[in-house]
Symmetry: C2
Subunit: 222 residues, 2 copies
DNA sequence: CAGAATTTTACGGAAATCCATAATCTATAA
DNA sequence: TTATAGATTATGGATTTCCGTAAAATTCTG
């Protein structure tokens, strides 16, 4: 079982719940941070003291603070911790249920478990901790398990995301083309833009561009 | 101090935190529901048994369940409980920080306190409970206190919301007009629609309709 | 290198939206 | 009743988006 755990979670009420879980599992050496930056510093300090954490439980979304922070969300924190300490086990514990993001956490940050905050998440969190403490298996909440199976034949690339972000920020298609041209983004013709949008609308089953932006916003893609 | 409390909160980890607060305040008679419908039924049952609750602490957003539910979110629950039992005290406890929605809770559902889930929300929750238990004062988390001051000279009415919702669902302006006509919504001409949209875009400083929908989605208005 | 396949770009007409102006309707007060 | 202000609707033209077709460019393949 894990000996030393760090929790990154901003909501204090939620923190209490997680700590209860750890106590139930007889894990007594744990610390928590309400800020990503702080959590990262603690991880680094622990390594330098040669007493590294062996488990990170991190939320994904954090309240944006008045003070400027290096790391603004859980995804980034997880990514940086993984780079710093490749052997640490990481559990993402979040209400985020969009397969796109969950998939990316497993693929890019190589997390060990994804537990969906929900009606029975405390049990799942316990299960996840137990499982990954004794093996290298991955744990994922059943409600979102299919997220990993879903392989979309259609890949959304960075340019697509860029276009969608510009659109949702009120930029017209022509303006986006101008921006792309002046910043040397590869396909930058009116036709290419229209074709991309058409594909996106097709893929997301959107009736029009407003609908498309609305959908991808809901999905957390932008 | 309150004698009998009901909590409506779906996330179990969060529930633990709230229950800890109540215990700290020596409130022992409390129940919680993970579903809005269930919470409402409990409130009604308590009234019929002549042992009504004197405090409701409710989250705003709930996981949508597979089973169809009458009441789908905290706003509706609060509204219905307020109608059923006008003298009950109500605390909304949520991460929602959009002034539009908070304002509406105080004005339409006459809630007694709004506590923002955050870094120090447990203290605030205690303060809120203490305050409204001994007086009829309102409590609101300092982070969002200005929400109530903000008086917008421009009123967004139900038709505006309806239009924005239809737009974000992929309905074209012409289609919305048809829908309005066949359901006898008052202003239902192309011009009226365009004028409304123009005012909304002006008010929200949106460049175009995509931008507008994007903004109001971010603000939680739709 | 030649040819094929794919991607990018160009073009044009249809449709939708945007925007300003004017006409019509409605309610209220003199 | 009539005048007037405000709201609703109508109209038309400019702009933008939509969508299909086709040319041009690039990449892939043998």
């Amino acid at each position: 079982m894990f000996k030393k755990v760090i929790i990154a979670e901003d909501l204090d009420a939620m923190n209490l719940g997680i700590q209860q879980v750890l106590k139930d599992l007889n894990i007594i050496d744990f610390q928590h941070s309400k800020f990503c930056d702080e959590a990262f510093l603690k991880v680094r300090a622990a390594i330098q003291k040669n007493e590294p954490y062996d488990l990170l439980i991190s939320d994904l979304s954090f309240k944006t603070d008045h003070r400027k922070s290096e790391i603004s969300n859980g995804d980034e924190l997880i990514q940086k911790v993984r780079e710093l300490q490749p052997n640490i086990k990481i559990i993402a514990y979040s209400v985020e249920d969009k397969s796109y993001r969950i998939k990316s956490l497993f693929e890019n940050a190589d997390i060990d478990a994804f537990v969906l905050k929900g009606l029975n998440s405390i049990d799942e969190l316990k299960k996840a901790i137990n499982l990954i403490s004794i093996s290298d298996q991955k744990f994922i909440s059943p409600e979102v398990a299919m997220a990993l199976q879903e392989k979309s034949n259609f890949e959304i690339d960075d340019v697509d995301i860029k276009i969608l972000k510009y659109l949702s920020a009120g930029t017209s298609q022509d303006e986006i083309i101008e921006i792309f041209k002046s910043s040397n983004v590869k396909p930058n013709s009116k036709s290419a833009m229209e074709k991309r949008l058409s594909k996106l609308k097709d893929f997301f089953k959107a009736n029009n561009t407003i609908h498309l932006v609305s959908i991808v916003k809901d999905m957390g893609i932008i």
